[in-house]
Protein backbone atom coordinates (compact mmCIF):
# COMPACT_ATOMS: atom_id res chain seq x y z
CA UNK A 1 0.00 0.00 0.00
CA UNK A 2 1.35 3.43 -0.98
CA UNK A 3 0.01 6.84 -0.03
CA UNK A 4 0.41 9.73 -2.44
CA UNK A 5 1.52 12.42 -0.01
CA UNK A 6 0.62 15.90 -1.35
CA UNK A 7 4.01 17.18 -0.19
CA UNK A 8 6.32 14.21 -0.88
CA UNK A 9 4.68 12.15 -3.64
CA UNK A 10 3.92 8.40 -3.49
CA UNK A 11 5.53 6.77 -0.44
CA UNK A 12 5.34 3.33 1.15
CA UNK A 13 2.85 2.95 3.98
CA UNK A 14 5.68 2.12 6.41
CA UNK A 15 6.58 5.84 6.46
CA UNK A 16 3.20 6.72 7.97
CA UNK A 17 1.50 6.39 11.33
CA UNK A 18 -2.22 5.65 11.51
CA UNK A 19 -4.60 7.57 13.76
CA UNK A 20 -8.03 6.22 12.75
CA UNK A 21 -11.36 7.73 11.73
CA UNK A 22 -11.00 11.33 10.49
CA UNK A 23 -14.70 12.11 10.67
CA UNK A 24 -15.15 12.15 14.44
CA UNK A 25 -15.24 15.68 15.86
CA UNK A 26 -14.29 16.73 19.37
CA UNK A 27 -17.38 17.90 21.26
CA UNK A 28 -17.58 21.23 23.07
CA UNK A 29 -15.88 21.16 26.49
CA UNK A 30 -19.24 21.38 28.26
CA UNK A 31 -20.95 18.76 26.06
CA UNK A 32 -22.76 15.86 27.72
CA UNK A 33 -20.67 12.92 28.94
CA UNK A 34 -22.40 10.68 26.40
CA UNK A 35 -21.11 12.92 23.56
CA UNK A 36 -17.59 12.48 24.90
CA UNK A 37 -18.00 8.70 25.16
CA UNK A 38 -19.17 8.66 21.53
CA UNK A 39 -16.21 10.76 20.45
CA UNK A 40 -13.54 8.83 22.34
CA UNK A 41 -14.83 5.27 21.92
CA UNK A 42 -17.51 4.70 19.29
CA UNK A 43 -16.73 4.29 15.61
CA UNK A 44 -18.74 3.58 12.45
CA UNK A 45 -16.01 1.15 11.30
CA UNK A 46 -17.42 0.89 7.74
CA UNK A 47 -16.65 -1.86 5.24
CA UNK A 48 -16.10 0.41 2.28
CA UNK A 49 -14.94 4.01 1.93
CA UNK A 50 -13.30 5.30 5.10
CA UNK A 51 -11.86 8.74 5.77
CA UNK A 52 -8.89 8.33 8.07
CA UNK A 53 -5.94 10.23 9.53
CA UNK A 54 -2.36 9.33 8.67
CA UNK A 55 0.77 11.13 9.89
CA UNK A 56 3.81 11.23 7.60
CA UNK A 57 6.27 10.52 10.40
CA UNK A 58 9.22 9.53 8.19
CA UNK A 59 8.58 12.33 5.69
CA UNK A 60 7.15 15.82 5.79
CA UNK A 61 5.39 15.40 9.18
CA UNK A 62 2.07 16.45 7.65
CA UNK A 63 -1.21 15.06 8.96
CA UNK A 64 -3.20 13.66 6.04
CA UNK A 65 -6.83 12.73 5.49
CA UNK A 66 -6.90 9.61 3.32
CA UNK A 67 -10.05 8.25 1.68
CA UNK A 68 -9.55 4.48 1.38
CA UNK A 69 -11.74 1.46 0.71
CA UNK A 70 -11.33 -0.86 3.68
CA UNK A 71 -12.46 -3.85 1.57
CA UNK A 72 -9.80 -3.47 -1.13
CA UNK A 73 -7.23 -0.96 0.25
CA UNK A 74 -7.87 1.19 -2.86
CA UNK A 75 -7.07 4.84 -2.17
CA UNK A 76 -9.32 7.49 -3.72
CA UNK A 77 -7.90 10.65 -2.21
CA UNK A 78 -5.11 12.00 0.00
CA UNK A 79 -5.47 15.56 1.30
CA UNK A 80 -3.66 17.63 3.90
CA UNK A 81 -5.63 17.65 7.16
CA UNK A 82 -4.87 21.35 7.57
CA UNK A 83 -6.66 22.11 4.29
CA UNK A 84 -9.67 20.03 5.33
CA UNK A 85 -9.81 21.85 8.68
CA UNK A 86 -9.65 25.23 6.91
CA UNK A 87 -12.48 24.15 4.60
CA UNK A 88 -14.53 23.03 7.64
CA UNK A 89 -14.01 26.42 9.30
CA UNK A 90 -15.01 28.29 6.14
CA UNK A 91 -18.13 26.12 5.75
CA UNK A 92 -19.03 26.71 9.41
CA UNK A 93 -18.45 30.46 9.00
CA UNK A 94 -20.49 30.90 5.82
Amino acid sequence: MRLNCPCCGPRGVEEFTYRGDATVRRPAPDAAASDWVDYVYLRDNPAGWHRELWYHAAGCHAWLVVTRDTRTHEIADVARAVDIARQDRENAGS
Binding site: G12, V13, A33, N45, R71, H73
Partner: protein
Protein backbone atom coordinates in the same frame (compact mmCIF):
# COMPACT_ATOMS: atom_id res chain seq x y z
CA UNK B 1 -26.76 -39.45 18.70
CA UNK B 2 -26.70 -42.99 17.34
CA UNK B 3 -23.66 -45.19 17.31
CA UNK B 4 -21.35 -42.54 15.88
CA UNK B 5 -19.15 -41.92 18.91
CA UNK B 6 -15.46 -41.88 18.07
CA UNK B 7 -13.48 -44.47 20.01
CA UNK B 8 -10.89 -47.18 19.59
CA UNK B 9 -13.76 -49.49 18.61
CA UNK B 10 -15.07 -47.20 15.86
CA UNK B 11 -11.51 -46.91 14.59
CA UNK B 12 -11.06 -50.71 14.54
CA UNK B 13 -14.47 -51.21 12.93
CA UNK B 14 -13.64 -48.78 10.14
CA UNK B 15 -10.19 -50.29 9.70
CA UNK B 16 -11.83 -53.67 9.04
CA UNK B 17 -14.40 -52.06 6.73
CA UNK B 18 -11.79 -50.20 4.70
CA UNK B 19 -12.81 -46.78 6.11
CA UNK B 20 -16.09 -46.85 4.19
CA UNK B 21 -18.47 -46.23 7.09
CA UNK B 22 -17.51 -42.71 8.26
CA UNK B 23 -20.42 -40.28 8.21
CA UNK B 24 -20.36 -36.51 7.60
CA UNK B 25 -19.30 -34.80 10.80
CA UNK B 26 -22.38 -32.56 10.89
CA UNK B 27 -25.66 -32.33 8.95
CA UNK B 28 -26.00 -29.67 6.24
CA UNK B 29 -29.10 -28.20 7.88
CA UNK B 30 -31.70 -26.06 6.11
CA UNK B 31 -33.20 -23.23 8.14
CA UNK B 32 -36.45 -23.87 10.02
CA UNK B 33 -39.04 -21.12 10.52
CA UNK B 34 -37.94 -20.31 14.04
CA UNK B 35 -35.66 -21.27 16.91
CA UNK B 36 -35.32 -20.46 20.60
CA UNK B 37 -31.85 -19.04 19.92
CA UNK B 38 -30.14 -18.02 16.69
CA UNK B 39 -26.40 -17.44 16.79
CA UNK B 40 -25.10 -15.20 14.00
CA UNK B 41 -21.62 -16.38 13.06
CA UNK B 42 -20.43 -19.97 12.73
CA UNK B 43 -16.89 -19.40 13.91
CA UNK B 44 -15.30 -21.12 16.87
CA UNK B 45 -17.07 -18.90 19.38
CA UNK B 46 -20.50 -19.25 17.75
CA UNK B 47 -20.24 -23.03 17.52
CA UNK B 48 -18.98 -23.29 21.09
CA UNK B 49 -21.88 -21.09 22.23
CA UNK B 50 -24.40 -23.34 20.47
CA UNK B 51 -22.78 -26.43 21.96
CA UNK B 52 -22.84 -25.14 25.55
CA UNK B 53 -26.40 -23.82 25.12
CA UNK B 54 -27.51 -27.34 24.21
CA UNK B 55 -25.20 -29.24 26.54
CA UNK B 56 -25.12 -27.21 29.72
CA UNK B 57 -28.21 -25.01 29.53
CA UNK B 58 -30.63 -27.45 27.94
CA UNK B 59 -31.65 -25.21 25.03
CA UNK B 60 -31.82 -27.53 22.01
CA UNK B 61 -33.73 -25.44 19.44
CA UNK B 62 -30.63 -23.54 18.39
CA UNK B 63 -29.38 -22.49 14.96
CA UNK B 64 -25.99 -21.17 13.96
CA UNK B 65 -26.10 -19.12 10.76
CA UNK B 66 -22.82 -18.70 8.91
CA UNK B 67 -22.32 -16.60 5.78
CA UNK B 68 -19.56 -18.83 4.41
CA UNK B 69 -18.60 -22.29 5.54
CA UNK B 70 -17.49 -23.62 8.90
CA UNK B 71 -13.78 -23.01 9.43
CA UNK B 72 -13.34 -20.21 6.90
CA UNK B 73 -13.07 -17.36 9.41
CA UNK B 74 -10.64 -16.66 12.20
CA UNK B 75 -11.01 -20.13 13.74
CA UNK B 76 -8.98 -21.33 10.74
CA UNK B 77 -6.73 -18.28 10.47
CA UNK B 78 -5.00 -18.03 13.84
CA UNK B 79 -1.66 -19.26 15.17
CA UNK B 80 -3.30 -21.94 17.39
CA UNK B 81 -1.87 -20.71 20.70
CA UNK B 82 -3.64 -21.21 24.04
CA UNK B 83 -2.52 -19.53 27.27
CA UNK B 84 -3.90 -17.73 30.31
CA UNK B 85 -0.94 -15.50 31.18
CA UNK B 86 -2.88 -12.29 31.72
CA UNK B 87 -2.27 -9.53 34.24
CA UNK B 88 -5.57 -7.85 35.07
CA UNK B 89 -8.15 -9.34 37.40
CA UNK B 90 -10.93 -8.71 34.85
CA UNK B 91 -9.13 -11.04 32.43
CA UNK B 92 -7.25 -13.78 34.34
CA UNK B 93 -10.23 -15.79 35.70
CA UNK B 94 -11.86 -15.81 32.26
CA UNK B 95 -8.79 -17.03 30.38
CA UNK B 96 -8.04 -19.57 33.11
CA UNK B 97 -11.61 -20.84 32.80
CA UNK B 98 -10.86 -21.23 29.10
CA UNK B 99 -7.62 -23.09 29.82
CA UNK B 100 -9.44 -25.54 32.08
CA UNK B 101 -12.05 -26.13 29.39
CA UNK B 102 -9.27 -26.79 26.86
CA UNK B 103 -7.82 -29.37 29.25
CA UNK B 104 -11.04 -31.39 29.20
CA UNK B 105 -12.28 -30.45 25.74
CA UNK B 106 -11.48 -33.60 23.79
CA UNK B 107 -13.28 -35.88 26.24
CA UNK B 108 -16.15 -33.41 26.47
CA UNK B 109 -16.81 -33.16 22.73
CA UNK B 110 -15.44 -36.60 21.78
CA UNK B 111 -13.12 -35.15 19.18
CA UNK B 112 -9.34 -35.12 18.88
CA UNK B 113 -8.39 -31.43 18.82
CA UNK B 114 -4.70 -32.21 19.43
CA UNK B 115 -4.57 -30.09 22.58
CA UNK B 116 -0.85 -29.89 23.34
CA UNK B 117 0.24 -28.25 26.60
CA UNK B 118 3.77 -27.74 25.43
CA UNK B 119 4.31 -24.47 27.32
CA UNK B 120 4.31 -20.79 26.39
CA UNK B 121 7.54 -18.94 27.05
CA UNK B 122 7.63 -15.11 26.96
CA UNK B 123 11.23 -13.94 26.77
CA UNK B 124 12.52 -10.79 28.47
CA UNK B 125 15.57 -8.82 27.49
CA UNK B 126 16.24 -6.25 30.22
CA UNK B 127 15.65 -5.58 33.93
CA UNK B 128 12.46 -3.58 33.49
CA UNK B 129 10.92 -6.31 31.39
CA UNK B 130 11.96 -8.94 33.94
CA UNK B 131 10.20 -6.94 36.66
CA UNK B 132 7.09 -6.61 34.52
CA UNK B 133 7.02 -10.36 33.87
CA UNK B 134 7.60 -11.18 37.53
CA UNK B 135 4.63 -8.96 38.33
CA UNK B 136 2.55 -10.70 35.69
CA UNK B 137 3.62 -14.13 36.94
CA UNK B 138 2.68 -13.16 40.50
CA UNK B 139 -0.72 -11.88 39.34
CA UNK B 140 -1.28 -15.21 37.59
CA UNK B 141 -0.30 -17.25 40.66
CA UNK B 142 -2.55 -15.15 42.88
CA UNK B 143 -5.39 -16.29 40.61
CA UNK B 144 -4.28 -19.91 40.83
CA UNK B 145 -2.68 -20.01 37.37
CA UNK B 146 0.68 -21.70 36.88
CA UNK B 147 3.61 -19.39 36.12
CA UNK B 148 7.33 -19.58 36.58
CA UNK B 149 10.26 -17.33 35.85
CA UNK B 150 13.18 -18.99 34.07
CA UNK B 151 16.64 -17.50 34.20
CA UNK B 152 18.71 -17.36 31.06
CA UNK B 153 20.45 -20.68 31.74
CA UNK B 154 17.13 -22.49 32.07
CA UNK B 155 15.96 -20.95 28.79
CA UNK B 156 19.26 -21.91 27.14
CA UNK B 157 18.92 -25.53 28.20
CA UNK B 158 15.50 -25.69 26.59
CA UNK B 159 16.17 -23.62 23.44
CA UNK B 160 19.93 -23.61 22.89
CA UNK B 161 19.76 -22.01 19.46
CA UNK B 162 18.31 -18.58 20.34
CA UNK B 163 20.34 -15.42 19.87
CA UNK B 164 21.29 -15.00 23.54
CA UNK B 165 24.10 -12.48 23.31
CA UNK B 166 22.71 -10.11 20.71
CA UNK B 167 24.14 -6.63 21.31
CA UNK B 168 20.77 -4.86 21.41
CA UNK B 169 18.39 -7.47 22.82
CA UNK B 170 20.28 -10.08 24.86
CA UNK B 171 17.97 -12.73 26.37
CA UNK B 172 17.80 -12.49 30.17
CA UNK B 173 15.17 -15.13 30.86
CA UNK B 174 11.48 -15.76 30.40
CA UNK B 175 8.05 -16.20 31.92
CA UNK B 176 6.87 -19.77 31.35
CA UNK B 177 3.30 -21.01 31.55
CA UNK B 178 3.70 -24.78 31.27
CA UNK B 179 -0.01 -25.39 30.79
CA UNK B 180 -0.11 -23.11 27.77
CA UNK B 181 0.47 -24.55 24.33
CA UNK B 182 -1.26 -25.14 21.02
CA UNK B 183 -4.45 -26.75 19.70
CA UNK B 184 -5.31 -27.89 16.20
CA UNK B 185 -7.51 -24.91 15.29
CA UNK B 186 -9.61 -26.46 12.50
CA UNK B 187 -10.38 -29.42 14.74
CA UNK B 188 -11.85 -27.03 17.30
CA UNK B 189 -14.36 -25.80 14.72
CA UNK B 190 -15.15 -29.29 13.45
CA UNK B 191 -15.30 -30.79 16.93
CA UNK B 192 -17.67 -28.17 18.32
CA UNK B 193 -19.78 -28.31 15.14
CA UNK B 194 -20.08 -32.09 15.42
CA UNK B 195 -20.82 -32.02 19.13
CA UNK B 196 -23.45 -29.30 18.74
CA UNK B 197 -25.00 -31.10 15.77
CA UNK B 198 -25.28 -34.32 17.80
CA UNK B 199 -27.32 -32.36 20.35
CA UNK B 200 -29.71 -31.16 17.66
CA UNK B 201 -28.26 -27.74 16.83
CA UNK B 202 -28.80 -26.71 13.19
CA UNK B 203 -25.61 -25.45 11.57
CA UNK B 204 -26.70 -23.47 8.53
CA UNK B 205 -23.86 -22.62 6.18
CA UNK B 206 -23.90 -20.19 3.23
CA UNK B 207 -26.57 -18.24 5.09
CA UNK B 208 -25.62 -14.59 5.57
CA UNK B 209 -27.44 -12.43 8.09
CA UNK B 210 -28.72 -9.40 6.17
CA UNK B 211 -30.87 -7.78 8.84
CA UNK B 212 -32.08 -8.04 12.42
CA UNK B 213 -35.84 -7.79 12.74
CA UNK B 214 -37.09 -5.97 15.82
CA UNK B 215 -40.51 -5.17 17.23
CA UNK B 216 -41.03 -2.68 20.05
CA UNK B 217 -37.37 -2.64 21.05
CA UNK B 218 -37.15 -6.42 21.10
CA UNK B 219 -35.48 -8.71 18.61
CA UNK B 220 -37.80 -11.22 16.89
CA UNK B 221 -35.52 -12.82 14.32
CA UNK B 222 -32.82 -12.57 11.71
CA UNK B 223 -33.20 -11.77 8.01
CA UNK B 224 -30.84 -13.96 6.06
CA UNK B 225 -29.88 -14.70 2.48
CA UNK B 226 -31.98 -17.88 2.92
CA UNK B 227 -35.04 -16.11 4.27
CA UNK B 228 -36.31 -14.88 7.61
CA UNK B 229 -35.56 -16.99 10.68
CA UNK B 230 -37.60 -16.24 13.79
CA UNK B 231 -35.77 -16.30 17.10
CA UNK B 232 -36.60 -15.87 20.76
CA UNK B 233 -33.08 -14.66 21.38
CA UNK B 234 -30.27 -13.72 19.03
CA UNK B 235 -26.57 -13.85 19.81
CA UNK B 236 -24.09 -11.99 17.62
CA UNK B 237 -20.78 -13.81 17.48
CA UNK B 238 -19.08 -12.49 14.37
CA UNK B 239 -15.84 -10.87 15.49
CA UNK B 240 -14.11 -9.15 12.59
CA UNK B 241 -17.47 -8.00 11.29
CA UNK B 242 -19.17 -7.12 14.60
CA UNK B 243 -19.63 -3.45 13.71
CA UNK B 244 -21.39 -4.30 10.45
CA UNK B 245 -23.75 -6.81 12.02
CA UNK B 246 -24.47 -4.71 15.13
CA UNK B 247 -25.26 -1.77 12.82
CA UNK B 248 -28.24 -3.82 11.56
CA UNK B 249 -29.68 -3.34 15.04
CA UNK B 250 -28.73 0.33 15.10
CA UNK B 251 -25.73 -0.10 17.41
CA UNK B 252 -22.34 1.60 17.17
CA UNK B 253 -19.52 -0.28 18.86
CA UNK B 254 -16.18 0.72 20.42
CA UNK B 255 -14.46 -1.38 17.77
CA UNK B 256 -12.31 -0.98 14.65
CA UNK B 257 -11.73 -3.92 12.28
CA UNK B 258 -8.05 -4.51 11.64
CA UNK B 259 -6.08 -7.07 9.68
CA UNK B 260 -3.61 -9.54 11.24
CA UNK B 261 -1.25 -11.65 9.15
CA UNK B 262 0.10 -15.08 10.02
CA UNK B 263 2.66 -17.37 8.44
CA UNK B 264 3.71 -20.99 8.18
CA UNK B 265 7.01 -22.32 6.83
CA UNK B 266 7.88 -25.52 5.04
CA UNK B 267 8.00 -28.59 7.28
CA UNK B 268 11.15 -29.13 9.33
CA UNK B 269 12.29 -31.74 11.82
CA UNK B 270 11.08 -30.91 15.34
CA UNK B 271 13.29 -28.36 17.07
CA UNK B 272 10.98 -25.87 18.84
CA UNK B 273 9.13 -27.72 21.61
CA UNK B 274 7.07 -24.82 23.01
CA UNK B 275 5.56 -21.48 22.01
CA UNK B 276 8.21 -18.75 22.18
CA UNK B 277 7.59 -15.02 22.11
CA UNK B 278 10.23 -12.37 21.48
CA UNK B 279 10.11 -9.60 24.08
CA UNK B 280 11.91 -6.89 22.13
CA UNK B 281 9.62 -6.92 19.13
CA UNK B 282 6.29 -8.51 18.36
CA UNK B 283 7.04 -12.05 17.19
CA UNK B 284 5.71 -15.41 18.35
CA UNK B 285 6.48 -18.87 17.00
CA UNK B 286 5.70 -22.51 17.51
CA UNK B 287 6.20 -25.64 15.46
CA UNK B 288 3.19 -27.57 14.28
CA UNK B 289 3.01 -31.35 14.50
CA UNK B 290 3.54 -31.42 10.72
CA UNK B 291 6.83 -29.58 11.28
CA UNK B 292 5.91 -26.17 9.88
CA UNK B 293 6.94 -23.10 11.84
CA UNK B 294 3.78 -21.17 12.67
CA UNK B 295 4.46 -17.53 13.46
CA UNK B 296 3.10 -14.02 13.50
CA UNK B 297 3.50 -10.54 14.88
CA UNK B 298 1.69 -7.22 14.90
CA UNK B 299 -1.54 -6.26 13.21
CA UNK B 300 -1.06 -4.08 10.14
CA UNK B 301 -2.49 -1.13 12.03
CA UNK B 302 -5.20 0.36 9.82
CA UNK B 303 -8.93 -0.35 9.43
CA UNK B 304 -9.42 -3.22 7.00
CA UNK B 305 -11.95 -5.82 5.92
CA UNK B 306 -9.68 -7.15 3.17
CA UNK B 307 -8.38 -10.39 4.79
CA UNK B 308 -4.97 -9.56 3.36
CA UNK B 309 -2.17 -7.36 4.62
CA UNK B 310 0.84 -5.49 3.34
CA UNK B 311 4.57 -6.08 3.00
CA UNK B 312 5.96 -3.79 5.76
CA UNK B 313 4.43 -5.96 8.48
CA UNK B 314 5.73 -9.14 6.83
CA UNK B 315 9.18 -7.55 6.89
CA UNK B 316 8.76 -6.52 10.53
CA UNK B 317 7.67 -10.02 11.58
CA UNK B 318 10.59 -11.64 9.75
CA UNK B 319 13.03 -9.17 11.30
CA UNK B 320 11.71 -10.16 14.73
CA UNK B 321 12.22 -13.81 13.84
CA UNK B 322 15.76 -13.22 12.64
CA UNK B 323 16.64 -11.22 15.74
CA UNK B 324 15.39 -14.04 17.98
CA UNK B 325 16.51 -17.16 16.09
CA UNK B 326 18.88 -16.45 13.20
CA UNK B 327 18.90 -20.13 12.21
CA UNK B 328 15.47 -19.81 10.57
CA UNK B 329 16.86 -17.33 8.03
CA UNK B 330 17.00 -19.81 5.16
CA UNK B 331 13.67 -21.45 5.89
CA UNK B 332 11.16 -20.92 3.10
CA UNK B 333 7.69 -19.57 3.69
CA UNK B 334 4.99 -22.04 2.72
CA UNK B 335 1.82 -20.05 3.28
CA UNK B 336 0.77 -16.67 4.54
CA UNK B 337 -2.73 -15.37 5.21
CA UNK B 338 -4.70 -12.79 7.16
CA UNK B 339 -7.84 -12.46 9.23
CA UNK B 340 -10.03 -9.65 10.52
CA UNK B 341 -9.72 -8.57 14.13
CA UNK B 342 -12.34 -6.73 16.17
CA UNK B 343 -9.92 -4.31 17.85
CA UNK B 344 -11.63 -2.71 20.84
CA UNK B 345 -10.76 0.58 22.45
CA UNK B 346 -9.18 -1.11 25.48
CA UNK B 347 -7.90 -4.34 23.97
CA UNK B 348 -10.39 -6.55 25.84
CA UNK B 349 -13.50 -8.36 24.62
CA UNK B 350 -17.23 -7.75 25.08
CA UNK B 351 -19.75 -10.40 26.18
CA UNK B 352 -22.89 -8.55 27.16
CA UNK B 353 -26.53 -7.70 26.63
CA UNK B 354 -27.29 -4.86 24.20
CA UNK B 355 -29.80 -2.00 24.43
CA UNK B 356 -32.12 -4.18 22.28
CA UNK B 357 -34.02 -6.77 24.35
CA UNK B 358 -33.06 -10.39 23.66
CA UNK B 359 -30.11 -9.35 21.50
CA UNK B 360 -26.72 -10.37 22.89
CA UNK B 361 -23.23 -9.42 21.79
CA UNK B 362 -20.01 -11.41 21.78
CA UNK B 363 -17.34 -9.26 20.13
CA UNK B 364 -14.06 -7.42 20.38
CA UNK B 365 -11.67 -10.35 20.63
CA UNK B 366 -8.78 -8.31 19.23
CA UNK B 367 -6.16 -10.86 18.15
CA UNK B 368 -6.69 -13.14 21.16
CA UNK B 369 -9.92 -14.88 20.29
CA UNK B 370 -8.71 -18.41 19.62
CA UNK B 371 -7.50 -19.24 23.13
CA UNK B 372 -10.78 -17.85 24.46
CA UNK B 373 -13.00 -20.07 22.32
CA UNK B 374 -14.31 -22.51 24.98
CA UNK B 375 -14.84 -19.91 27.73
CA UNK B 376 -16.30 -17.43 25.28
CA UNK B 377 -18.82 -20.04 24.18
CA UNK B 378 -19.62 -21.05 27.75
CA UNK B 379 -20.01 -17.47 29.02
CA UNK B 380 -22.04 -16.36 26.01
CA UNK B 381 -24.32 -19.39 26.38
CA UNK B 382 -24.72 -18.56 30.07
CA UNK B 383 -25.59 -14.95 29.25
CA UNK B 384 -28.14 -15.94 26.60
CA UNK B 385 -29.73 -18.70 28.67
CA UNK B 386 -29.87 -16.85 32.00
CA UNK B 387 -29.86 -13.23 30.85
CA UNK B 388 -27.08 -12.51 33.33
CA UNK B 389 -23.30 -12.49 32.89
CA UNK B 390 -21.23 -15.54 33.76
CA UNK B 391 -19.13 -14.78 36.87
CA UNK B 392 -15.79 -15.01 35.01
CA UNK B 393 -16.95 -12.69 32.20
CA UNK B 394 -18.71 -10.08 34.28
CA UNK B 395 -16.09 -7.42 33.52
CA UNK B 396 -16.58 -7.69 29.73
CA UNK B 397 -19.43 -5.19 29.68
CA UNK B 398 -20.38 -3.07 26.69
CA UNK B 399 -20.93 0.00 28.86
CA UNK B 400 -17.55 -0.18 30.61
CA UNK B 401 -16.10 2.47 28.30
CA UNK B 402 -18.61 5.09 29.38
CA UNK B 403 -18.20 4.08 33.04
CA UNK B 404 -14.42 4.38 32.92
CA UNK B 405 -14.08 0.69 33.82
CA UNK B 406 -11.90 -0.24 30.85
CA UNK B 407 -9.71 -3.38 30.96
CA UNK B 408 -6.56 -2.12 29.31
CA UNK B 409 -3.86 -4.85 29.62
CA UNK B 410 -1.30 -2.77 27.75
CA UNK B 411 -2.25 0.65 29.11
CA UNK B 412 -2.45 2.12 25.63
CA UNK B 413 -5.68 4.12 25.90
CA UNK B 414 -8.45 4.41 23.35
CA UNK B 415 -6.39 3.58 20.28
CA UNK B 416 -7.31 0.18 18.85
CA UNK B 417 -4.22 -0.38 16.71
CA UNK B 418 -1.91 -0.13 19.75
CA UNK B 419 -3.48 -2.97 21.73
Amino acid sequence: MKNDRYSIFSLLRETLRGQTGWKPVWRDAAPQASYDVVIVGGGGHGLATAYYLARRYGIRRVAVVEKGWIGNGNIGRNTTIIRSNYLLSGNVPFYECSMKLWEGLEQDINYNAMVSQRGVLNLFHNDAQRNAYIRRGNAMRLHGVDAQILDVEAVRRRLPFLNYDAARFPIRGGLLQKRGGTVRHDAVAWGYARAADRLGVDIIQNCEATGIRMREGRVVGVETSRGFIGAGRVGLSCAGNSSRVAAMAGLRLPIESHVLQAFVSEGLKPFIDCVVTFGAGHFYISQSDKGGLVFGGDIDGYNSYAQRGNMPVIEDVCEGGMALMPRIGRVRLLRHWAGLMDMTMDGSPIIDRTPVDNLYLNAGWCYGGFKATPASGLCFAHLIARDEPHPVAKAFRLDRFGRGAVIDEKGMGAQPNLH
